[in-house]
Amino acid sequence: MNSMTGQANTVNLQGNKACALGAVAAGCRFFAGYPITPSSEIAENLAKELPAVGGVFLQMEDEIASMAATLGASMGGIKAMTATSGPGFSLKQENLGYGMGAEIPCVVVNVMRGGPSTGLPTRPAQGDIMQTRWGTHGDHPVIVLAPGSVEEIYQQTARAFALSEKLRTPVIVLFDESLGHLVETVALPDVADYEKTVRKWATGKPEDYKPYHGDADGVPPMARPGDGFRVHTSGLTVAENGFPTQKPHEVDALMKRLLGKVALNNDLIESFEAVECKDAEVVIVALGVVGRAARKAVKELREAGIKAGLFRPVTLWPFPTESFRKQTAKARHIIVAEMNAGQLIHEIAEVKTGKQKVTGLNRYDGVPISPVDIKKTVKEVLGHE
């Protein structure tokens, strides 16, 4: 019982700490990281938590090594995570792609700050929306979860482990400085089901095992070192036996399965929040912390008689396209409010089906978009008709 709120199981928690605790609750037993603002509290909390539960915390020599060590630990068979911010996320891209290609589960947290370059280390931004989708080279499967509150950071970090293990692919958790440093009173959600979700391990006769032959869900069982399978893992394009190939039909089959396994499991991956969208004339699309401002703006606009709604993708990538289309079917206007110069707006313009007019509301001055900003843009858009 919390003496301040009178509620059971509530706790005062910082966003970054919630991320660390959500990871441990989901069964994370390895973290490798490098100090970087504004994500360092994730590493600091795990440096305390992990050894106390028999897990491993490693401060590596750089961001690249952190990503590599995280994948190395996961190749050994345990749930592993790393966390960083923009500049570090850029450095991790090559090895993140290795995880996607070689199908090694792990969770990568990016607490966004202003960019480009060193940018605004202690100020929020959403400038990495497209980097999470296209950051590493070549075609690749991507799953990105974008929580919008401290409670959701805890829950989505735990969920990221479950998705990552189940689909044998890295999952990115994306939020920003303002959420990472936000302290809220939260009720910790039950994440036991996420904790129980572990990857499919290879069983049976080693001679019959094909390390890159997908099951019906597109995901191949993984061989645990020491279990007698003695497989080869490579960043090269491989055939089903795990060894490099350049045969066009084998390359094509691998790529189709790799990219397809995310689409095949979209029901499991998709998540979003829709507020008052059913009859909305104008739908605001907002991600993470901006969703909070948008929720307030929608409430106040409704009170003023304006039919506004909010669509907030919690799963950013793959974008919840069909759900978005359903939720915005009646809208005449879509406003994409994002803390960058315009990134998510490109996806919205591409996936919308109706004649909705798409307008961007952008801030990249290190200040979160406010309800006032959103209401002003809604009124401008409607007034211009």
């Binding site: 050894p51 690249i64 090594a65 080869h232 893992t233």
Partner: protein
């Protein structure tokens, strides 16, 4: 501590169970023929490694071989073990995560002069400093072979490569001194022509509890030897041996009068220390924390 590895009288050594070494027991023979060029020293290094693994009685199921990118990076794939072909320069970082997660595995890293000293140099010095129980074999062929013969951090002075068309003017790295200075617990260098000595050097690394760094002087006949008129493979390895010096040999100057290389080559075991191994130290701390004996 300088110590020369003595030649063993009986090279066909046996393991405790008396089984003689047969390289075929340790190879993925269905992948043959292998990718290595005729005359390449990497195959000899591979044989020495497998022989040492056999002598140490290491179970293939518990052996993890982590490689980077380049000619050295492709060597591990032929080993019938848990093999990981990772990204350029990063095998030590992958191996660090793997070894911390799975202390029950024997983790061997195979890397090259470009992989380990250029793009991955930071990971080498920190792996040596951390002193985790990993055996690192750096196959030094003094060139980027896989990409077509560019100069590397160990390309000798005046050597012609595709990126030093007028002869190399950059100084070279002494990888063993680097590893020693950074704290590696076991450091040594050997040439491929002395296979039993190389085998014993590697076996010493496998047996050592901590980070062991072994530099194998390999030879690249195709894109290094040919371009510099260093002769065929036998001539190249003979060139290596003629510039070899024991660990305690003191040069009057660093110049050796031999066309193969401008400076002499120390071989043998240079460092053998009992610095605390990091994995054990970490687990000791973790166990105490789990029992609540010390506060974090």
């Amino acid at each position: 501590m300088n110590k020369q590895v003595a030649l063993k009288a009986d090279d066909a050594k046996k393991t405790a169970d008396g089984k003689e070494f047969n390289i075929r027991d340790y190879l993925r023979l269905d992948l043959f023929p292998h990718f290595m060029c005729p005359g390449c020293g990497h195959g000899i290094a591979l044989r020495a490694l497998l022989w040492a693994i056999h002598e140490q009685g290491i179970d293939k199921d518990k052996l993890a071989v982590v490689c980077g990118i380049g000619c050295s990076g492709r060597v591990g794939g032929y080993i019938d073990a848990n093999t990981f072909h990772t990204t350029h320069g990063r095998p030590l970082a992958y191996a660090t995560g793997l070894k911390m997660a799975r202390p029950d595995l024997h983790v061997v890293v195979i890397t090259g002069d470009g992989d380990c000293l250029a793009i991955g140099g930071n990971h080498l010095i920190h792996a040596a400093r951390r002193n985790l129980d990993i055996t690192c074999l750096m196959l030094n062929n003094e060139i980027y072979g896989m990409t077509g013969g560019q100069g590397s951090p160990t390309t000798p002075r005046d050597r012609f490569t595709t990126t030093t068309p007028a002869g190399n003017r950059e100084p070279v790295f002494d990888a063993c001194k680097l590893a020693e200075a950074a704290g590696a617990g076991y450091v040594g260098r050997e040439v491929t022509i002395h296979l039993p000595r190389l085998r014993d050097l590697i076996a010493g690394g496998l047996a050592h509890k901590g980070f062991s760094f072994i530099e194998v002087m390999s030879d690249c006949t195709e894109v290094n030897g040919r371009k510099n008129d260093l002769g065929s493979s036998p001539e190249m390895v003979l060139g290596q041996t003629r510039t070899m010096r024991p660990p305690d040999y003191e040069y009057d100057s660093n110049v050796v009068d031999h066309p193969f290389r401008p400076s002499g080559l120390h071989t043998g075991v240079f460092v053998q220390s009992d610095r605390p191994e990091y994995g054990a130290a970490y687990r000791d701390m973790s166990e105490k924390l789990q029992q609540g004996r010390t506060k974090p």
